[in-house]
Symmetry: D4
């Protein structure tokens, strides 16, 4: 409620068209619903331009089912669930229409949005082991309506694989660079394009990769301009942000 809306409402009160009690209600009205163990943010579609998302890790299948059913019964057509176990997906599919991708552990309950056609997000990975994280990003961006081009297994140790796809990269509005190990993909891609690059370090690797720390530090220290970084393995965060930028 901005200043003008507030003044307008107060003038309704002054004009007797709105009782003080109702005005209190409106101002204080909680923009979320309380399920006890979770407070669902039903106004988020308005406030942030995107529907509520359920972070599935650390929630029981019953909790997920309860939240999903609550959201779908409140005019939402669909809800995105990340990091949902196959078991929870199995359980949820008994009571709701569900699309589920076992690789990325992404689920979409309700009506899955149609083909995404807005703009162009290119998602590149260093290796094949980074694909689950890349798919989490891709399915998220597509869910929100962005067109996604996948460019997998183009790690910098075989730089010609990347160079041969320079045009494909040049056509991107946003690039998501997903890589583990030394995470150099973000820097090289960052130097090849003139659009924002969202770097996603992955926990792929062993030894001194320290579960993604090596890739994370590399990406933060990228000497290419236009690169920013999200958390290790955070495909959802990258896909969400890429969609946001893609649609500007």
């Amino acid at each position: 409620m901005n200043k003008e809306e507030l003044k307008a409402m107060l003038e309704e009160v002054a004009g007797g068209r709105l009782s003080p009690d109702e005005a209190v209600m409106r101002i204080k009205l909680q923009p979320y619903e309380d399920l006890g163990f979770a407070k669902i943010d039903t106004h988020r579609g308005v406030r942030q331009g995107a529907n509520e998302v359920i972070y599935g890790a650390g929630k029981t299948k019953e909790q997920i089912e309860k939240i999903v059913s609550h959201i779908l019964s409140n005019d939402a057509k669909s809800v995105l669930i990340t990091r949902m176990s196959a078991e929870a997906a199995e359980y949820l599919s008994q009571s709701a229409k569900l699309f589920y991708d076992g690789l990325s552990k992404i689920g979409i309950a309700g009506e899955r949005p149609k083909n995404a056609e807005a703009g162009n997000i290119v998602i590149a990975t260093g290796g094949t082991s980074d694909i689950p994280v890349a798919e989490e990003a891709a399915l998220t961006a597509e869910y929100y309506g962005s067109r996604v081009t996948r460019l997998y297994d183009v790690g910098v140790a075989g730089i010609h694989r990347l160079m041969n796809n320079a045009e494909l990269l040049a056509n991107a509005r946003v690039v998501i660079a997903v890589a583990g190990m030394e995470g150099a993909l973000a820097s090289v891609v960052g130097g090849m394009v003139d659009c924002p690059v969202i770097a996603v370090p992955t926990s792929v690797g062993y030894g001194a990769s320290f579960n993604g720390l090596s890739a994370l530090l590399s990406m933060l220290n990228s000497c290419a301009s236009g690169v920013s970084v999200v958390n290790i393995d955070n495909g959802f965060g990258a896909g969400y942000l890429a969609n946001m930028i893609n649609k500007m």
Copy 2:
């Protein structure tokens, strides 16, 4: 040189209008100039949509002067220099027209671009000690043409300072959140707006802030969507990326 341009050029060769030697030259032509200690990227304006930037740290004042003079003599109207010491600025100002801001250590040699009016980038800081980094971001974004709104000293421990500026934040196309210590500003701002938030951890703090590590980790773990992170104290990187997104 994309596929079509390449084919066009090769057809000139086939038609005898271009000699093989000249074609070799064009394909191999180095898109940078070599000063011995540095290779200046003169085509970057074309390729990345932004002029060459000089990272001043670790360069002698003589090196900076040499690179600046080379760039300005190649049709560039101005050049941005980051992390330039007051001493180097003093030295450079003897041979070039120079704007220099001692707080952010940003210099602009040549013609400083006129008032930046594109879009709206809001730059918020947690405290007053974060201002130098914020100014590095602000001057960078303005240099590239973006309008910047400064919102300083709105750390989350006095949340009303931030809430009272909710409208100002709501009008941003991009927000840069600059904070040291616990770095919580990025998460709170990230939940208040529906545009991309670029988080800049700063090395402000003491003890267990470990020179910015605490703020860095906080920002990477932000539970708000739409937040990405750049290196500790990397005001330039944030400003450059924010301008890129702001102009999409």
Copy 3:
């Protein structure tokens, strides 16, 4: 035994009312009982104002049962057991009256104290995954007699959920802020109230949360005054301390 008591006792010796041997006994009397593998602190109720607590992790079910039975047979009405596995609870319930909460893994053997009504401790969590730690704190504080108000899932990325409960927070004598990921909840709450805030970082998160390190550092670097921190996932410690402060 303070100076005055010591002098009084020695005067009894001087007066012949107490033999030297008995005096030695009294001075040296061990204020704990020795079970071989554990030394139970039976005087703690006097010395620290709270009964013995059993830290269940790393103890076998038989060891827990032995210690519980020993304590209950020494005039204690009940004993609190933390981090007790469901299996140990099952085993213990065969020989003792037991309340057990599977979520927080808290057990109370013997007579569970009646409704706790002293003061008001508000326990807030950032998300639903933090609830097990929060419940460990809540059940501990209630066991010692404090009234607890639960305020779950009010993470800072949806700051209105927290602002709407400002009054509830304002009525607290102590607040416990439980959060993983970026742990910003402690700072925001710390700025909203004028009572002590005990921050509990949790290991909830992934990637660069490094099992709670991110939240721990955030909370230690809180720029809000009145905030102190306990170990990662240490709900018991927070509940114990909150009760202590609440009753002052």
Copy 4:
């Protein structure tokens, strides 16, 4: 402004006794004043029960002077400044009445509060090198009105020094344990008293003390109940919190 106050105000609007514009003003009224580089929180005395404090590190002497003069000219009798350099103290003393302690770098501008007599806070240190941090805590707590008992150089490697002061500790309402190196003081003290213990790790030590990390981890892992921890060298935070608890 709570629900009742809001309703009362809105009834004034309904009754025509207050114009909508004035009501907007009241609701939106900024509870801080804006100096450009800093937003001073003038309502904090009301909201948090304590006056504004100036964190001196990272501020120029001119900035400190400006903030102090602004605060003192707004009905505040005094203002506390932490981590103020001797040079800034020298500068400030030219325009304001100033108490300054060079050891702890604490300054009090304006009227220094009279002898603090409330309750009893015992501040113990492991060694003599921890005294500057301890004094920061002591002067802070005294500034807010608490009585402080100093117990310095009682590190655990000479446990009799601590045991001989057991009674002194037993009389405390709150204990602040300040120690570097292995930081064991907090655990030992925590086991001797039945009041809250605030542990302050210091950066005193060398080698594997890693600037206070060793003491910090020790204190977080304390097996004594009732212990919580603040940031490394954060004497102010400990003193502020101790005063808050002491006065409950």
Copy 5:
């Protein structure tokens, strides 16, 4: 394609012996084949002097089988697979001729190269637990044609075991030093020989070995000249590099 080859080809175009379209094809021809989830680098034998290697970790047995079958059907006589599970080996052996070593998890599909006789690589280990990593190095180097001498369990805590094999070491063209725990083997060997030493830290150890970090740091800080280091447990990398140097 180097400068001369490029000019030659362009002269064919100028001479009409090659169409522009075909020239485009040749220049752009992708030196890898695309399986969708992986891009196989079929020219690597030419470019890097070694055949494609499959990093088995993080790939399903079906993916491994698919890549192997593709490579073997493209004129390659064999392919090396590292970190292949026994289960994947079982699966692969149904469709391809396979040598598999369960200790090092190395597989060779197709025709295993004959006895390796080139030069002499000595592979030393600190203890028996380092043997799996050493064998990964040994089998890799042998696969590429190098002769390997194994010298296992010669850790520095029994320095005579190493001294008694001084001649054996003196005859090496390259030494691979494989050690966990304190990793001192690399330094001692480095001081005994005048050939390159490749140090491989292993994750063998416990407590403060921190999964190989201790050995890694030791080896990087070796005060012996001629020592370089690969990733923790990276036997393949060491064997590959040793073979490369051995054959110079």
Copy 6:
């Protein structure tokens, strides 16, 4: 072989009483036997005053059995095996006389030495969870002939438990202090005795104990003199060293 022995032997050669070949043999004679995967140090009893010990972790039960049988068939009466799994113990007991302690995972194959009576080593633990590590130390020291006094569960948070055993500590020739969590036991004990204290950090704890790092750092930073530290959970190392010192 020292200088005098060498000269003596060479004089035998000069005198014709020893052939050059035999002299070569003697000088080069390998003081270990080679089982292929392990080099057993049969002269260690002479050189280091203690028999070979088998570090059981990372060895298969067959390897352990082979080494044990080899050692016992070479005049050794017994052999100590550390970190041996119950499964390996079961297997070994089929072919050798075996004492096995499941708590500490210590095994003694062959004739277990009689009651140890030399000197006095006191082994103290902070809690009951530290007992397995303490027993590894105790059984090792007893194996080599030292008398051991166990003092378990005397953590510093209940300092009276430790003070009441001051005499017992005062009678020690060496103390081993075993503790996890904050590891303060080493410092307090170090200040109470005037004999060497060997500190063993354990991985007991959770959260910010970081698997023993907290206790390790505490112990390294101990402000008590006479304290040195071994690796996390290294009961064997502490027991071995304590016995060595105890017998001086």
Copy 7:
């Protein structure tokens, strides 16, 4: 005061030969003197078998002078001061007889003890840069009466330097191994001798030595038996402990 002494004293009270007040005095008598900023432990010579030592770092020259003068006026013949700056030494020498070694920063005020002849401590260093720490150990051990043999610059990268001194090492009762960088000296020496080895990591090195962390971890993970570790650069601690063991 042990049980028997206590009983004896109490019998004096019972017999009227000692007043209760005097008995209180005796029991409570503080075994240290209080200088305000420091509590000097005057009974330490009795309790720990060694005189008070002053840790000079972090103390002003005036504080050092005050403590020294107090100790020397209480029957102590001398006092050891570690980490004393040249400036403090200059100041102290004006009021007390002082031996000062600028390399190790060790000072001895009062009568320096005569030639130390007890036992034999060998102190070995890896390089010349480790000598200051080694001298801190040497002068400390000599101060307490131990004979010290110096063996400097025998790092493992030139293992023959160490092997050629095997006899010298064999004659030691205790060895102190001082090394930075990879810290391998401790392991190699540990395998060559059958006496206790005290390892001192130093902060000598650069890059990944991380100020001594590399050497510290190496030494903690030593696979040689009989090795224990003190803090980085802690020459005093090693010298003190070595003397204690040497004299057993």
Copy 8:
């Protein structure tokens, strides 16, 4: 001295042509000379194929001068000194012929070897700030006789700068890749060449580069084959090893 040489010598003894005393001398002869504070390894030229090198850091100018003069007076024509301060160079040049390069801090005392012409080592840097480390490597390799090609400022964020020099890289026998920040240069170069790549992480960068840690981890995790790593900023080590490999 190998087995055959030893037998030959012993036969001289048996034949009376060599006295036992002389034989002892020969076997025991110390292959270094002892300056008290340093043991100079005069046989290293024979044993390791390279002359003694002086690591200048942490040595006084007088120590350096003494070692240099000793070495030069023992038939060595020159000696390499690394990390020598300008001040020490000034001092040394008074008594010896000295080449000194202020950028890399490399000095060569005595006769500087003539133009190096063996093989071809390419040294590439990511940026201009990495040049001092690169020059340390270059001058070292040239000192030992290798030809060096410098390729500076070819960081991966402008990948065309590297691609345009592909031929130059293809002609290398060894490549040294020197880079700070994200250190991706090693991986990209590693994928472009089929010769050994020695990666040198530098401490160039800020924030999360953590003084070279980021580049170090990147290089250790390189997914390119044939890459190994030396310590941060260790240009000497890389140059020494590269020369060794280059000459094979």
